[in-house]
């Protein structure tokens, strides 16, 4: 790994688009992908003719019940007579999509890339959780009939134990994000709730309760990435991709200390090194940590080194991560508030940073001036960290 002085072409994000995030949208997956793609192209002032390459992201094929889902989504994502690849790293796919698009441009082989994340979870019957019955090791784990929420409950419990965090501390994330989402036009689960509401909601797997968790969603999100020369031509305010980071830990989640996402720290270090960031807690102005569960936002804030280990709950209580705070996190409302169509949710986080850095986020715009931002996503069996650092 070398710092980015060797990167041939600087890469910018020049457009972003989003569909509504809802449960049971009537559009087909291809239609959703195209809706987001078209909006991203429009916002960049480009048409499909101007796009050289396509990157598609979508999580398990089983959600759509379509084998080779990337091929199915290809034309919906604009991949008609074009080079198309689909990337898939579980829940980490969302941020992986712009990362893969980044090297399409940085290699000098594509001038413009349309990067689309799509997910349609709600037509899995009877519930998309069923798909997660098949993510386990077929010999060691599947016979136990585990459920994804079980292992996240273990992780949450471990985090609470090691960091001495209370359920109330963690519920604050859900309260913050769902409130932030009230200003997001695509939001599915925005609400003005209190810590009490979270603590009184149904227990799924202790300590995870209904309002600790993001909803089942359908949706798509898209970005247009371009080389410096194209970016300077099509926009006055390109948002530069300064760093990318990827790390995948081993399959054996049960052998790891679940209190701290080491894989995310490794990925973040890679991205910060490329971006020349030495003190992320000071240099990052706004962050979109991945928040499918409320404790995960705190977990990821620490993994991204935006707070010291176990310090995130305290800073959250002090309002440090609010939109008006020192280091606003998840100003969009995140997965808890806007919704969690897996691959689309990660791309949505990057679209939010794109709008924040261009001061186009409207009511969601954070109070402080912003120059550098970071987003991450997390996937597989609690093992993938994908990170992207943006700047103006």
């Amino acid at each position: 790994m070398k710092p980015n002085i060797f990167v041939k072409d600087k890469v910018a994000i020049v457009g972003a688009g989003l569909t509504l995030f809802r449960r049971r949208l009537l559009e087909t997956p291809r239609e959703l992908a195209w809706e987001a793609a078209r909006e991203a192209l429009n916002s960049a002032g480009l048409t499909l003719k101007d796009i050289d390459c396509i990157v598609v992201g979508s999580a398990p094929d089983a959600f759509d019940g379509i084998h080779m889902k990337g091929e199915y989504l290809a034309d919906g994502s604009g991949g008609f007579n074009k080079p198309v690849v689909r990337v898939f790293v579980g829940g980490g796919t969302g941020v992986m999509v712009p990362v893969v698009a980044w090297w399409h441009v940085a290699s000098g082989l594509c001038k413009t890339v349309l990067a689309v994340g799509e997910e349609k979870m709600s037509h899995a019957y009877p519930h998309p959780q069923g798909v997660f019955a098949y993510i386990w090791d077929p010999i060691l784990e599947r016979p136990l009939g585990p459920n994804l929420i079980w292992i996240f409950a273990l992780e949450m419990r471990r985090y609470m134990h090691v960091c001495n965090a209370s359920k109330e501390d963690i519920a604050l994330v859900s309260v913050k994000n769902k409130r932030n989402a009230l200003d997001h036009p695509a939001a599915q689960a925005a609400a003005n709730i209190t810590v009490d509401d979270v603590l009184k909601s149904d227990v799924l797997v202790w300590p995870v309760q209904l309002l600790d968790i993001s909803p089942v969603s359908d949706g798509a999100a898209a970005l247009v990435l371009a080389s410096e020369s194209v970016a300077r031509r099509v926009t006055d305010t390109p948002v530069w991709v300064e760093g990318i980071g990827i790390t995948t830990d081993n399959t054996h989640w049960f052998n790891r200390d679940l209190a701290y996402p080491r894989y995310l720290e490794y990925a973040a270090r890679m991205a910060y090194k490329m971006a020349g960031i030495e003190r992320p807690w000071k240099e990052i102005d706004v962050a979109e940590p991945y928040d499918p569960f409320d404790y995960k936002e705190l977990h990821h804030i620490e993994g991204l080194m935006l707070a010291r280990r176990c310090e995130a709950p305290k800073l959250l209580r002090e309002g440090y991560f609010d939109r008006s705070g020192e280091l606003p996190t998840t100003p969009s409302g995140g997965l808890l508030g806007v919704g969690n169509p897996i691959a689309a949710a990660g791309v949505m986080k990057v679209t939010e940073l794109f709008w924040q850095l261009r001061y186009e986020a409207g009511a969601r715009q954070v109070k402080k001036p912003v120059h550098k931002a970071v987003a991450n996503a997390w996937g597989d069996l609690m093992q993938v960290g994908t990170v992207i650092v943006l700047s103006t």
Binding site: M1, K2, N4, F6, V7, K8, R30, I54, A59, P60, D61, A62, I66, H67, M68, E71, Y72, L73, A74, D75, G76, G79, F80, N81, P83, V84, V85, R86, V87, F88, V89, G90, M96, V100, W103, H104, A106, S107, L109, F132, Y134, I135, P138, I244, G245, I246, T247, T248, D249, N250, T251, R262, Y263, A267, M270, G379, D380, L381, Q383, V384
Partner: protein, 383 residues
């Protein structure tokens, strides 16, 4: 910046590999590739790419199982759901970006342990087409073959000639489990599985794990001296599987676009003159002819050239000297990599019984198979 293949490794190439699981096969292939390249995966490799599809693996998030067998745990390891050659394209881009110096590409296939292979194929069809309950999911190949024959004037004999050439040639290749001594009559007299393709003209399935180590020019010199350069690699999708009505039947525009992209990167204007042989798609017999046409390796009269023996191992331009997929078998997402492997071994002079003389540059072309219209092409050379 040039990109080199500094090491290759494989395990399997048999219709059934009963002794190892897919993860163990990945490990075996990886160990061999790293030994071949002289790299330490934990120290020298910057990123790992695995090419796999969930439904083939029987795992809902197959990327989970990618890192450990190839030494990618706690390192940048990702899954690209595509043909192995598309992953080589990703690795090529990663190296060319300047950030990654050494990238490993891995693909594996264990079709022998897929109980419901036909149903998995059916799941790759558009849900609307699936409701038609077409008895063989390979029907698109039959349609394309018939359209190709009508357009080009190639007859069933020409298709059968491809099968005879490749199946017989494979007898010299230890990796070609599906090779056989067949005659033109045997092929023509057997009943079509999907008209006009008989069972000799449809490749079987093979278990394999393949691992390829790529490196940038400046560090490649550190790793051995058996470098094969990737002069160009490109891929393209014509239409999605949900829109096969837009497909240009009897042609493969994705192959043409992928070839033009790869030729441009490699600086090739006349592929017949500037390259010495090709390993091209032939999971169906007609695909070899159609691919040659789309690659510009013989104009629209490729079947006439085939008749004259131009594409035979000793002919003017050898095509599929390894025996091709008809002999080696379809290895799911590793199909492109298996053909790249054959080309690399040829260029290194390690192809054993199928070795060609004086070859310096080759074309590798792969299609993802029905019902997709996605192809990838690479140009590889020795110097």
């Amino acid at each position: 910046m040039r990109v080199a293949v500094v090491g290759v490794g494989w395990y399997g190439f048999k219709p059934v590999v009963p002794e190892l699981s897919f993860r163990e096969m990945m490990f075996e292939a990886a160990v061999r590739a790293y030994e071949d390249a002289g790299v330490d995966p934990r120290r020298d490799v910057d990123a790992f790419i695995s090419c796999q599809e969930d439904f083939w693996e029987g795992v809902a998030i197959s990327n989970e199982f990618a890192p450990e067998p190839i030494g990618g745990a706690l390192r940048p390891t990702i899954t690209i759901t595509g043909d192995g050659l598309q992953c080589v394209g990703q690795a090529y881009m990663m190296v060319r970006s300047g950030v990654f110096k050494v990238v490993v590409v891995e693909a594996h296939a264990k079709p022998s342990s897929i109980v419901t292979l036909q149903e998995v194929y059916e799941f790759s069809l558009d849900p609307v087409i699936r409701t038609l309950k077409i008895p063989n999911p390979l029907f698109q190949a039959g349609l394309d073959a018939a359209a190709y024959m009508r357009r080009s004037g190639a007859s069933r004999e020409h298709l059968a000639m491809v099968a005879v050439k490749n199946k017989t040639r494979g007898l010299l290749n230890p990796r070609a489990s599906h090779s056989a001594k067949v005659t033109l009559d045997e092929v023509l007299n057997s009943k079509p599985v999907v008209y006009p393709l008989t069972r000799y003209e449809i490749a079987g399935f093979t278990d394999v794990a393949i691992n390829v180590v790529l490196a940038s020019e400046d560090v490649a010199r550190r790793f051995g001296d058996k470098h094969v350069w990737i002069d160009g690699v490109w891929w393209a999708t014509e239409v999605g599987t949900g829109a096969i009505e837009w497909h240009e039947w009897g042609r493969m525009p994705s192959m043409r676009m992928a070839a033009l992209g790869a030729y441009k990167l490699a600086g090739i204007e006349d592929p017949l003159r500037q390259t010495d042989f090709a390993e091209v798609e032939d999971r169906f017999s007609y695909m070899e002819l159609l691919t040659l046409e789309e690659l510009g390796l013989g104009g629209d009269g490729v079947h006439r050239l085939l008749e004259q023996g131009y594409y035979n191992p000793g002919g003017g331009y050898p095509v599929n000297p390894s025996g091709g997929s008809l002999s080696i078998g379809v290895t799911l997402e590793a199909t492109g990599l298996s053909r790249l492997l054959e080309a690399i071994l040829q260029l290194r002079g390690e192809a054993g019984g199928v070795q060609l003389k004086d070859v310096r540059r080759a074309i590798v072309a792969s299609w993802r198979g029905p019902p997709t219209y996605t192809s990838a092409v690479a140009v590889v050379s020795k110097d």
